[in-house]
Symmetry: C2
Subunit: 392 residues, 2 copies
């Protein structure tokens, strides 16, 4: 029997809506677990492909299993030419997350698997989505800059190939490796808003493209995946390490929000932020420009101190805080930070859709259909009487 | 203080997740209320445009208000030519709901309002969505049949213009009027699965196109909006009135589901079904082919009787049950039944997104981010220890 509190207008915070075997977020202890493994035990030791395998198939792959999985992913590193042609007709300033949402739905148009509600079909579609998400994002970056999309390189790993298709340059091992760690860190996070949206759509027995398109839409919001872009905009807005303290104090006095601080679930350190921060430092040093890392560090310390002093409570940075400066150092355009979150989180979304529709973690898949409290008072406590047009 | 029960794996059934002023569904009494008005008081008396106005702006419009609203809708009866060109490149057997989901996201690409999170912008986008949804559905129906999309007729009402663009023939008043009643009946239904998905996405501060695309995805599922298509397929599968009893008995014995029966919220008659059934009868008589209506009626009575006898409980038809034969009589292709649901429900979705983001019904918009129960037992009760690749 679960603990029970009134639920109205709480955004379901703290309510266990379903059972899952995929991941565990212990917000008090600051722990994140993928299929039994602590994220800090995995980050830096496994590739994104291994993480995706673990998240989808419930175990770390052997070399043979990984090779077979990788071959399937590499074979799906393309999108229908009609999708590319359609991207070429979009306004160049279209929001990349909207491009990705439309692209996800368009993939369904071209895939007969979308018409089959079976475990085999959904597993095939999961692999296609993981493989094709980076293709769509990279193609759009090229097209909006009036460049031709770069052909994928089957000899490159998933992350390295994405960076190559984005820029046309094969990344060195350190860059590709750091980016791959980011991909592992963002791959899964239990019932966050976008995953819940994807599960909600999947619960109607809609196909996985429909469900994932909902996840993309949810992730685009600035309170969710959009936050990493907003963190970078904030850093640019502040401009220098010296101005951090004034910025923090001003925001606290005016009731503004400091992006990248606080989390719906963690009441202590976000375990992912610990891994991202040193990578941001190294990448800054490598470029001889540690300003964005140092501003982030100063902002973290200043905000922590100010929150303790003014609000009497602790505040912690979340996954978006250091990923912003890190992605920036990697040369990634600010408005692609959130799509990059998506090309990682697609591993979690697909696993959750499969669990929702076929997983058996819950006693039986149940359509999410909550109730609401009606507070319409248009005619006082009574219902309204109909008034014909001529008397209105 | 709300009533409180354990919530795990119940699909949130019966849980009041938020307050709303938009509509009320009293599942025990079989009552549906739009902004203070009982649906049975509205159906047949107001047009879809009036219903949409009521749902969006909280009052029935005066003639002047309606004229202004209608002028805005008529002015938006087109989609970007790039969207039409993109539709022309899709496989002709693509699922219409996938076309609509992709189309919704593509509309965002072409609308600068999507970049502005303001009440003014979201209100403009709501009108665009209501006006453009029928255009996308009708255009796809033409394109997949190798016909040119029909230009809209500004002198026709919202429903009549849709039927005209679908078939190329201006519908007579009875047909257009019946269809318009269907549009009013399907326009809003509180926190059903698709509306909840749209609100969930909107709660991250994503824009309304993203949120509505999630609603479209959710509605496509056969447990939700997809059910009306499945009802018609079932009727065709049965084939004749004489075979209904055998069909019902067979399904009950084998544990199969009879489409269009039962509802997540109503434990009595769905008030919309009462209004739809006689329209189906009239349309059948008009065509001299009452078979589909009579099969539906026989199926309803047989199932009711069988449920009482074998399961000791009552069962009721829902909104999808009679809308199936009715739409069929109207000459609408079976796989457009669900998109037609969407071009009506877009009124409710847009109102809910606006309420979620700006409405003030809830104390403060809160990101939907539930918790889950982790039941991963991959290494017994403990966490797993990392195993390097060469030891797996």
């Amino acid at each position: 029997m679960e603990e029970c509190k009134p639920i109205l207008n709480t955004g379901l915070r703290g309510f266990k809506v379903a059972s899952t075997k995929i991941s565990d977020v212990d917000g008090n202890a600051g722990k994140l677990v993928y299929r039994g493994y602590l994220i800090k035990e995995l980050a830096g030791k496994i590739s994104f492909e291994e993480a995706a395998y673990l998240i989808l198939y419930e175990k770390l792959p052997s070399q043979d299993e990984l090779d077979r999985f990788n071959a399937l992913l590499v074979a799906e590193r393309q999108v229908p030419p009609e999708l590319i042609a359609s991207l070429e007709s979009r306004p160049k300033d279209a929001l990349p997350m909207d491009i990705l949402q439309a692209g996800t739905a368009m993939l369904a148009n071209h895939d007969p698997d979308a018409k089959e509600l079976s475990l085999e079909a959904v597993n095939r579609m999961a692999i296609k989505l993981i493989a094709k998400f980076p293709i769509i994002v990279a193609a759009w970056e090229r097209i909006r800059n009036n460049k031709k999309p770069v052909e994928p390189d089957p000899d490159l790993g998933h992350s390295a190939n994405f960076l190559y298709m984005l820029s046309g340059t094969v990344p060195d091992d350190e860059l590709a490796g750091f980016f791959d760690v980011c991909m592992v860190l963002h791959a899964e996070h239990s019932f966050n808003a976008s995953t819940f949206a994807a599960r909600e759509v999947a619960s109607t027995r809609a196909h996985i493209y429909s469900a994932v398109a909902a996840g993309v839409g949810s992730l685009s919001g600035e309170l969710h995946g959009g936050a990493n872009t907003r963190v970078m905009e904030m850093l640019m807005d502040i401009g220098s390490v010296e101005k951090v303290e004034e910025y923090v104090n001003h925001l606290l006095e005016t009731g503004g929000i400091i992006m990248g601080l606080g989390h719906a679930v963690y009441s202590t350190d976000d375990p992912r932020a610990h891994i991202l921060a040193p990578m941001s430092k190294v990448m800054g040093e490598r470029l001889g420009d540690t300003r964005w890392y140092e501003m982030s560090k100063r902002l973290e310390l200043t905000a922590k101190e100010a929150f303790r002093r003014k609000k009497g409570r602790d505040i912690y940075v979340n996954v978006d805080f250091y990923s912003a400066s890190l992605y920036y150092y990697m040369g990634i355009p600010t408005d692609l930070f959130t799509p990059i979150f998506a090309i990682s989180r697609i591993a979690g979304w697909t696993a959750h859709v499969i669990e929702e529709q076929f997983g058996g973690a819950a006693p039986k898949p149940v359509l999410y259909r909550p109730d609401s409290q009606y507070i319409g008072d248009y005619c006082g406590p009574d219902l309204c009487e109909f008034v014909p047009m001529e008397e209105r």
